[in-house]
């Protein structure tokens, strides 16, 4: 709530070029991507490369600004509260993004596949058996879905453990124990990287693809989107680790750290949903 206990002024940043740079980057990426899909590859790669370069430039510049503002003490308690609200709402938006894909999975399992196998649809798809996992009635063949009890179970352990290590780091930062902070963060980063490695291995071994009907589509969309989030989370953890090594953060003032750990826990919880609904049941 509005805290006016601090009588200092809410920090409003100076005019900044980063937003426009960021928009330019996204525009380049968008037209680059469209070109990749429809026109010459060279031209597309040039556009995409330019887009990524611009985006990277923007991210470094923008976050650089934020970090130096934070470190120079410009952010008072009220600004800190703003960051907390915003991170919470951002994570909510991500939850809803995943909800769309989970919705697709549930819909396919509960509605579309059973419907395709019902009496009336025998007219169109004679003999189709609506069992899950399914690749649909058109040229339905046997395929091996991903089992829950190999790599996925290991991955679950990895992520759960990483949730513990990041909490360990948090505990350390509050105690101002820099060594344990760095250790906890490093362990978390390592676990994240191992997770990603396992996920890549699993993809490599998968006996089906993105095009294996609605099973393949939902499987790769959900796990892929999650994997993308783990990658982002790991990157963010690396940044936090680097900042910790540089001596940033104090026991009272370390919201960047907390934001990343919230994000990491969120990615963790999503994985549990994936494990149950994509791999297990």
């Amino acid at each position: 709530m509005s805290s006016s206990s601090t009588h200092d002024v809410y920090y409003v940043p100076a005019p900044s070029k980063w937003p426009v740079v960021g928009s330019t980057a996204l525009f380049l990426l968008a037209i680059g991507f469209v070109s990749l899909l429809h026109f010459g590859k060279t031209q597309a790669y040039v556009l995409l490369a330019a887009g990524f370069a611009t985006l990277t430039y923007m991210l470094f510049g923008w976050f650089g600004n934020v970090i130096s503002e934070s470190e120079s003490g410009k952010y008072n308690a009220q600004v800190d509260a703003s960051f907390r609200w915003s991170m919470g709402w951002f994570i909510f938006s991500e939850v809803m993004f995943f909800a769309a894909f989970f919705g697709a999975l549930f819909y396919a399992r509960q509605m579309s596949v059973p419907l395709l196998g019902d009496v009336d649809n025998q007219l169109l798809w004679p003999g189709f058996k609506p069992d899950w996992p399914s690749m649909g009635p058109y040229n339905a063949t046997e395929f091996h879905p991903m089992s829950a009890w190999g790599l996925p179970a290991i991955n679950t352990m990895l992520l759960l453990t990483s949730g513990v290590t990041v909490t360990w780091a948090h505990w350390a930062i509050k105690k101002n124990d820099r060594t344990q902070l760095v250790l906890g963060l490093a362990a978390t980063v390592a676990l994240g990287l191992i997770f990603l490695f396992c996920q890549m291995t699993e993809y490599g071994e998968a006996a089906f693809s993105l095009a294996t009907g609605v099973y393949g589509a939902t499987f790769f969309m959900l796990t892929g989107f999650h994997g993308f989030h783990v990658s982002l989370g790991t990157l963010m953890l690396i940044v936090i680790l680097a900042r910790s090594l540089k001596g940033h953060f104090t026991p009272e003032h370390h919201f960047a750290f907390e934001a990343v750990s919230w994000y990491w826990h969120f990615v963790d919880v999503v994985w549990l949903g994936l494990f149950v609904f994509v791999y297990w049941l």
Binding site: L115, L116, D120, N121, L123, L124, W125, P137, Y138, N139
Partner: protein
């Protein structure tokens, strides 16, 4: 022009009169049990809404008139009154319940396609309809029969002279009067909509899925409708014409169709659903 007169009359008359001024401003004459219920429901809701509108906006316009500053009105300073607020929450609720009741009956009736007298499978294509009479073995395609050169600038092609411009097909769907006809609707490329207002049917054809609905025409006649879901360039050009005939005439028609079919045993329609849906 008859219609212009109707419009002029309609505009001169008040809003309620409009609804009654003729079918030009209302749902076309319903011809099935379901569409009659729909018609009745619509009239009921229309009257309810008009009544609410008159009462609510009567109050508002009275207030705008009587409480003008230019007439020396001084603002009162009241706000919040729980009794009033509860009343104006409950009354709409009750009105809605009154509407919902008959509507529920109709929904259940229109969803009940059981025990049909005959079944027709309807397959939509870009941009034509295929009808398979599952009981009688008739199969036909229906496409727009308005000559192409009528579509286009009236300046170039002369006035549109065709009475049923855009609402006519080369092969009409013929059905017997008084029989419950179940439709199994699907599509072969994109989503289309089988829509004939007078029969009270509007059902999407979804590629790869069969959806069912039904109607029972109580009167012989020709009922016209159009594709109701955008399906590409010629979405405006895939009409539906249903011809309801007496059961005897229908039987004769079936015979005639069968004879035609035997003559030109069509070998070319082996294209299955899957071939076009799969990519």
């Amino acid at each position: 022009m008859k219609k212009l007169r109707v419009i002029a009359g309609a505009i001169a008359a008040s809003l309620p009169a409009l609804a009654l001024a003729g079918y030009d401003v209302n749902i076309p004459a319903p011809k099935t049990p379901i569409s009659m219920q729909i018609y009745g429901l619509h009239m009921e809701i229309l009257w309810v809404c008009l009544a609410i509108f008159v009462v609510v906006f009567g109050v508002m316009f009275y207030s705008l008139f009587a409480h003008r500053k230019s007439k020396g009105a001084v603002a009162a300073n009241f706000h919040e009154n729980h009794l009033v607020e509860v009343i104006w929450t409950l009354i709409p609720f009750v009105i809605l319940a009154v509407i919902a009741f008959p509507a529920t009956r109709t929904v259940l009736a229109m969803k009940d396609a059981s025990n049909p007298d005959m079944t027709i499978k309807v397959t939509a294509y870009q941009w034509k309809w295929q009808y398979d009479y599952l009981n009688d073995g008739v199969k036909l395609y229906a496409t727009l029969s308005t000559p192409r050169d009528q579509i286009g600038s009236p300046e170039e092609h002369g006035k549109i002279t065709n009475e049923h411009y855009l609402l006519e097909t080369d092969n009409n769907v013929v059905v017997p009067v008084g029989k419950k006809i179940r439709l199994l609707i699907t599509a072969n490329d994109v989503i289309h909509g089988w829509y004939v207002p007078q029969l009270g049917v509007n059902q999407y054809g979804i590629p790869g899925f069969i959806k069912d609905t039904w109607f029972q025409a109580n009167e012989a006649g020709i009922y016209r409708g159009q594709c109701s879901q955008i399906c590409g360039k010629e979405h405006g050009y895939m009409p539906i014409v249903v011809e309801a005939k007496s059961p005897e005439d229908y039987a004769a028609w079936v015979k005639e169709q069968k004879a035609k079919q035997a003559e030109a045993a069509q070998p070319a329609d082996k294209v299955s659903m899957a071939d076009t849906t799969a990519r």
